[in-house]
């Protein structure tokens, strides 16, 4: 049963790492405007990702034998926190680094690990994850894309939608049906690794309401995969994905998506010497909540260090964190509405405009609020 999380500080010996990252970022992100930083982990730059790889900061927790840095989860927390809080354009490598490499380490064969992970760590292979389909939405168990075993391996047909960054990735790890029918729900689903340059793969970027293309729709028309495209055990894809979500939901990416806006606004208040209590209270309220979220996120990190699988705890942090990220946007917007004569920079207004529009996705990506709260309710024994 889900219980409360205990405070754990960042271990002393891990603290020094932050300085290195920060020096790197100060140079790499000089003059990077707030409205770009506001893209947070949706902003992508293959060049930036490769620079990080050159620093040894991709695959931070991956063992050295697979090209990683062999560091612990607290180092990973610190790195993620610095990247996210500075709004670095991490989208190119983010999924490969945070989800695909751990997944391959856990469920991949030794050959698969040696083939893919070192390239992930060098920033040479970018991955995406194929989950939703055009008629499935949050209902992942209703997946209809199918891989059928044939003499050359697996023959893949179907499509995936809302795949983050697929049009700029090298590989997709997709959840597909390998046996049974749609009515079997979670049964008969498997994870397969797809080289997106294969014949029969078509990628169509989806332009979003902010004019960016963070997502793609990907079509598979008789795509022939090799037999070793299967990741883990046939038919166990659902369980594997569920375990994977614990990684995806646990990190500080669920706290810092609106940091660029918050920092930009706080700086504007400082520059123009705003010091009424109501404004101070808005700032302080957000900072208090952010501090608590950081505490909760560190506690989840500690559970990872201890070898637990804190999937439900991670859902708590994500749901609570998403609320915070959206609250930052609402409150900065409301503050501007309360102070219509206050002049702010175009950079701030653009950052706000971006986040007002995209902020609604914070409670969709990685599970809607209803889904997450359902997971929490199950953890509490309510269902």
């Amino acid at each position: 049963m889900l219980t409360a999380l205990d405070f754990t500080p960042v271990p002393k010996e891990e603290l020094a790492f932050r300085g290195q990252i920060r020096s790197f970022l100060q140079e790499a992100l000089a003059d990077y405007p707030y409205h770009q930083r506001a893209r947070s982990w949706m902003g992508s730059s293959a060049e930036f990702s490769r620079k990080l790889g050159a620093q040894g900061w991709l695959g931070l927790t991956v063992p050295k034998e697979f090209g990683g840095a062999g560091k612990g989860f607290f180092s990973r927390f610190i790195l993620a926190e610095e990247l996210l809080a500075s709004g670095a354009p991490v989208a190119s490598h983010w999924i490969a680094d945070r989800q695909s490499a751990p997944l391959l380490l856990r469920y991949g064969t030794d050959a698969q690990r040696r083939q893919y992970i070192p390239k992930i760590c060098r920033g040479e292979s970018f991955f995406c994850i194929g989950m939703s389909e055009s008629n499935s939405g949050s209902d992942l168990a209703s997946i209809r894309t199918r891989a059928v075993l044939n003499d050359q391996g697996w023959l893949l047909n179907g499509s995936k939608i809302w795949t983050t960054n697929a049009h700029q990735c090298d590989y997709m790890i997709a959840l597909v049906r390998t046996s049974g029918e749609a009515a079997d729900r979670q049964q008969g689903l498997s994870q397969v690794l797809i080289d997106l340059t294969l014949p029969g793969v078509t990628r169509k970027p989806i332009v979003d309401l902010a004019g960016d293309a963070h997502f793609s729709e990907v079509f598979f028309d008789n795509v022939q995969l090799a037999a070793d495209a299967l990741i883990g055990v046939e038919g166990q894809g659902w369980d594997q994905v569920t375990a994977e979500l614990a990684f995806e939901r646990s990190g500080p990416e669920r706290i810092y998506s609106s940091m660029a806006l918050l920092d930009c606004w706080v700086n504007a208040l400082r520059e123009q010497h705003v010091s009424d209590s109501a404004t101070q209270a808005l700032v302080g309220g957000l900072v208090a909540e952010m501090a608590v979220l950081r505490g909760l996120s560190l506690a989840v990190t500690k559970k990872l260090v201890d070898g637990e699988s804190p999937a439900i705890e991670a859902s708590v942090v994500k749901d609570f964190g998403t609320d915070f990220e959206q609250k930052v946007i609402r409150q900065v917007s409301a503050w501007l509405g309360s102070n219509p004569d206050f002049v702010v920079s175009g950079d701030l207004l653009k950052a706000l405009g971006y986040l007002e529009q995209m902020g609604v996705t914070f409670s969709l990506r990685g599970g809607t609020r209803e889904i997450l709260r359902g997971i929490i309710a199950r953890g509490l024994g309510l269902r």
């Binding site: 409301a334 002049v343 653009k350 529009q357």
Partner: protein
């Protein structure tokens, strides 16, 4: 608000301000054709007296028209123009050709000209009625330098005029805050209208979209959210109907404050529920929802948001010595003591 003006405006705007045309204008497309069609509706001079060539209608007559303009997220300041023309006529000034918006905030007169920042419809208007302290200008956008002041798709702008244009466009001195209530009233009507549109789309989608084997509208969690959304949308509409109660073209300042406060506070819930129900499809450029929720978010803070207008209203409540009910009855409903 379902009257014949509403029906005819709806009919007109569903063609004139279609999603495809809104997209064009958001991307800098020419506004001339849309403006001509709007003018052709005959509502442009609705609030101007018959003696001055207008229709001589009152604000309460055309509340449904303003609401409909909001429902179609018209990307030009048509609602503003109706009120601006009435004000200009009242001030004894000639009516300029084209769209007029208001700039009662963030206006600065400096050595080298006039600046108006974060002007609603600043990119698609022809004229800006601006006020700073007691100075009032009617400024031509054709002679301004224009910079987008909002996020992607915004039609708001920072505008700057050179000294000589500023001088020539100064139309006189009036008591302060001429345009604040006018802007508040127009924005409130637009918000109520676009909220209604967003609600309509959300309800339809909830009934149509199937997940986990049934329409998502059958899930209790979404039902609860949509019901609350309906309350907010009905409330916003009621606020605007009340604010339009007037025997002249001019809104009561307290009612305009009430309406802008109430409609602006509804936006967060309306927008978030709409997107929660629509899921990922709702944030794609292709799907129309975003054209309307984008305006919702911007309009909630433009021209003063909830906090500003609630403070204006609250100040007037605290300044009198009436019970709260009597303030509401007398000052907002116009009932007798």
């Amino acid at each position: 608000m379902q009257d014949s003006f509403f029906d005819s405006t709806e009919k007109l705007l569903s063609e004139v301000s279609s999603p495809a045309l809104i997209r064009k204008i958001e991307h800098g497309g020419d506004t001339t054709a849309m403006w001509s069609s709007l003018e052709a509706s005959g509502f442009g001079d609705a609030l101007v007296p018959e003696s001055a060539g207008g229709a001589g209608l009152t604000l309460s007559d055309i509340g449904s028209v303003l609401f409909s303009i909001g429902r179609h997220a018209v990307p030009l300041p048509f609602a503003h123009t109706l009120l601006a023309r009435a004000w200009l006529n009242d001030a004894g000034l000639a009516l300029p050709k084209g769209a007029v918006t208001f700039a009662p905030f963030q206006v600065d007169k400096s050595g080298d000209g006039v600046t108006a920042r974060a002007v609603s419809f600043g990119k698609t208007t022809d004229w800006v009625l601006a006020q700073k302290n007691e100075d009032v200008w009617l400024l031509p956008v054709a002679e301004a330098s224009v910079a987008t002041s909002g996020g992607y798709g915004s039609v708001d702008a920072d505008l700057r005029w050179p000294t000589e244009v500023g001088k020539r466009s100064l139309i006189g001195r009036w008591s302060v805050d001429q345009f604040q209530p006018l802007l508040a009233l127009s924005m409130a009507a637009l918000i109520a209208g676009v909220s209604d549109r967003v609600y309509e789309m959300t309800l339809a989608y909830a009934n149509q979209r199937v997940q986990f084997g049934k329409p998502i509208g059958k899930f209790q969690a979404l039902q609860q959210q949509i019901s609350e959304m309906a309350e907010q949308v009905f409330g916003a509409r009621m606020a605007v109907q009340m604010a339009c109660q007037s025997n002249s073209w001019r809104p009561l300042p307290a009612l305009a404050a009430m309406a802008k406060a109430q409609t602006s506070q509804a936006v967060a819930r309306v927008s978030s529920t709409a997107h929660a129900v629509h899921g990922a499809i709702g944030v794609t450029a292709e799907y129309d929802l975003q054209l309307y929720t984008r305006r919702l978010n911007e309009w909630a803070r433009l021209g003063g948001g909830y906090g500003y207008w609630a403070h204006k209203l609250g100040a007037s409540v605290l300044q009198c010595d009436r019970s709260v009910l009597d303030y509401v009855r007398l000052d907002l409903f116009g009932e007798p003591v």
